[in-house]
């Protein structure tokens, strides 16, 4: 009995210590500000999305997304710490608070959005399974693949999606499956199969590893939905809003014709929509805890959505992935931002 008060005091002390350190105590945005860095869960290396350049600097589509968030919060795109994560680790890292935001070509699915403690803010890249074939076959559509031999990696959803696709179109095919992605590519390159199937962005990247990349084309059909999105930890609405509206802001900027080159000029224009968006009028930034010129800083640092896309996937890049679904809503794509007002 004599020891009870001591134990109580210890228990209280531990509880207090835990409460102090718990992530709920301060919002993620405040933590980020205090730390002076956004911690971004990233892919350790995926062509176009995030790879180190010759100097070791991270570059890529997802990397620019992280840089955009940093620019919105700090006005400086380089205050990002990248934590490279494997596919298995990514949600654990988000749950434990090791990272603030996950931008790692992660497919947005219902179970991930609900059960894994993550909330997806928006889609930054619409990917989907496609087919790679030799250009000399002259194929224009995946619907012409009747009777083809197709290389696929074993045990992936690609295998199942392909089965569904061919069954629903009443076509015949012969799958040749391999244990690893590398083996599958090598087999296709060696001529074992007529076509090779994987996600579209992966096919464009693998094409560069083939003996002669220009001899291969990716067919336009996407037979599955792989919307890649940014995700944050559940339970912090302010941070969720920041990440979501940085994403929408990039799309809205492209829609409104705001580019890296003309952003300052557009800010001082008379167009009320542009003035609201770029913080010359209204209080959109402060409403989510950001400065007035948050979107100006973002676009000045990384450009609008289309500029980011073109830099890493566009015709002038090496990957040359057609915009397709990633084009703006009024140009045949799915990129659409709610109004910034």
């Amino acid at each position: 009995m004599k020891r009870a008060p001591v134990l109580m005091a210890m228990a209280c002390g531990v509880a207090a210590a835990m409460a102090n350190g718990a992530p709920a105590a301060a919002g993620v945005l405040d933590q980020v500000r205090q730390r002076g860095q956004v911690i971004c869960g990233a892919n350790p290396g995926l062509a176009g999305f995030g790879v180190p350049d010759d100097k070791g600097k991270w570059t890529g589509f997802d990397v620019d997304y992280c840089r955009a968030i940093s620019a919105a919060v700090f006005g400086d795109p380089d205050k990002v710490k990248y934590v490279p994560l494997t596919a298995k680790d990514r949600f654990t890292a988000l749950q434990t608070g090791e990272i603030d935001v996950l931008v790692r070509n992660t497919t947005w699915t219902m179970s991930r959005d609900t059960a894994l403690g993550a909330s997806f803010t928006n889609v930054n890249f619409y990917d989907g399974q496609a087919f790679l074939v030799r250009a000399k076959l002259g194929l224009k559509s995946a619907l012409e693949l009747n009777g083809a031999t197709i290389c696929v990696q074993q045990g992936t959803t690609n295998e199942l999606n392909m089965a569904d696709f061919f069954r629903s179109h009443k076509m015949e095919y012969k799958p040749v499956s391999f244990g690893s992605a590398a083996e599958t590519v090598r087999a296709y390159d060696a001529g074992r199969c007529d076509a090779f199937t994987s996600d579209s962005s992966a096919l464009h990247a693998e094409r560069l590893r083939m003996t002669n990349p220009s001899e291969h084309v990716v067919l336009p059909e996407l037979i599955s939905r792989e919307p890649f999105g940014a995700a944050v930890r559940k339970g912090d609405d302010q941070w969720f809003d920041v990440v979501r509206w940085v994403g929408y802001g990039l799309v809205a900027a492209e829609d409104a014709g705001v580019t890296k080159a003309n952003v300052d000029e557009k800010r001082s224009s008379d167009n009320p929509e542009l003035r609201r968006m770029l913080g010359a009028e209204g209080k959109l930034g402060p409403a989510i805890g950001l400065p007035d010129e948050w979107l100006v800083n973002v676009v000045r640092a990384v450009g609008n959505y289309g500029e980011i896309y073109d830099r890493h996937f566009g015709e002038t890049s090496r990957l040359k992935i057609p915009r397709g679904l990633n084009n703006l809503w009024n140009k045949g794509g799915l990129m659409y931002a709610p109004p910034l007002r």
Binding site: P44, G45, A47, V51, P52, T96, L208, R209
Partner: protein, 388 residues
Amino acid sequence: MTMTPTSPACASTPRSAPAQTTPARPPQPTAGLLRGLRGLVSTPVNALLTVLALAIAWFLLRPAIEFLFINAVWSGHDRAACLAGEASGETGACWPFITRRIGYFVYGQYPEAQRWRPNLAMALCALNIAAALWPRAPYRGAALFAFVVPFPIISWILLYGPGFSGLVTVPTNLWGGVLVTLVISIVGIVASLPLGVLLALGRRSRMPFVRAASIVFIEVMRGVPLLAVLFMANRMLPLFLPPGVLPDPLVRVMVGVSLFAAAGMAEVIRGGLQALPKGQYEAAAALGLGYWQMMFTVILPQALTLVIPGIVNTFISLFKDTTLVTIVGIFDLLTTIDVSSRDPAWATPVTVSTGYAFAAMFYFICCYAMSRYSAAMERRLAAAGSRS
């Protein structure tokens, strides 16, 4: 007696004949070489086997030499250079991929302006190792002590640059490549030897608690793959600790690797302790030496000498096992190469093979150097042992 035709041939090979006639003369290198060469073609069977072995070596080596040197591309700025050979059907290594990115492969993302710091640390490390390991250097004991205690602290300050040092702080997530490989393996090597000695002694201790604790630690660590230890250190630990008290990921990995290597080391050293005749212990005790005196002056010097091959073997496997840290998001040499090969600016069919060939050379040179050093040490100690 059908084997008669072969057995005289074997008995009369030049290799064994001179050994019988001149057992006392030290062997002369040139004579040995000539004898060896003659042995290769001494009989028709031997000659045939020699030709066969050379042919096999040629078939295996020729593609490697062609890939690494003859068909290799030596200069260029991006993948276009590497594809030049590809078009003509001669597959060769793409060395510009290595030379253009060598800074990344050695330092990772360590800021370029600060790279003199890892350079200085590596130079200090090389000097210190040389002073501690070169048999004829003076003050070897002091150098060895310097390597185990002040050197890790100095290099930590140099590389990390904590606030008080006045250097720019370089967080460990920017470290990479050879730098990380060396840091993890040197910390592992430096920490695992003393820890392993203590654990080995603990396991043979008569104190029940010490013995039980050592046995449990060794068996648990040895019974779990290193990969699992790394996962525990990097993914499980954060779940148990309150946020904010989490050690640096690289530190977590270094502790995991060191403890894992210490458990293996303890068993190697225990082998040495058990190989010593009981008389050594009894004689030391009869001289009135206490436990630690007996261990450090009589038992351990002999036991450690006995197990040098085992110790170096543990070091070598530790060095190679550092490649596993890739799984917890730390960019060692192999990971930096692997990741770089996916850069669209360099992705070609030969990029990965070139990168791996480079990594293989690096690991081979390091491990072979360790192995040669241990062989030289063994010869020296054996010679010293036979003199006394």
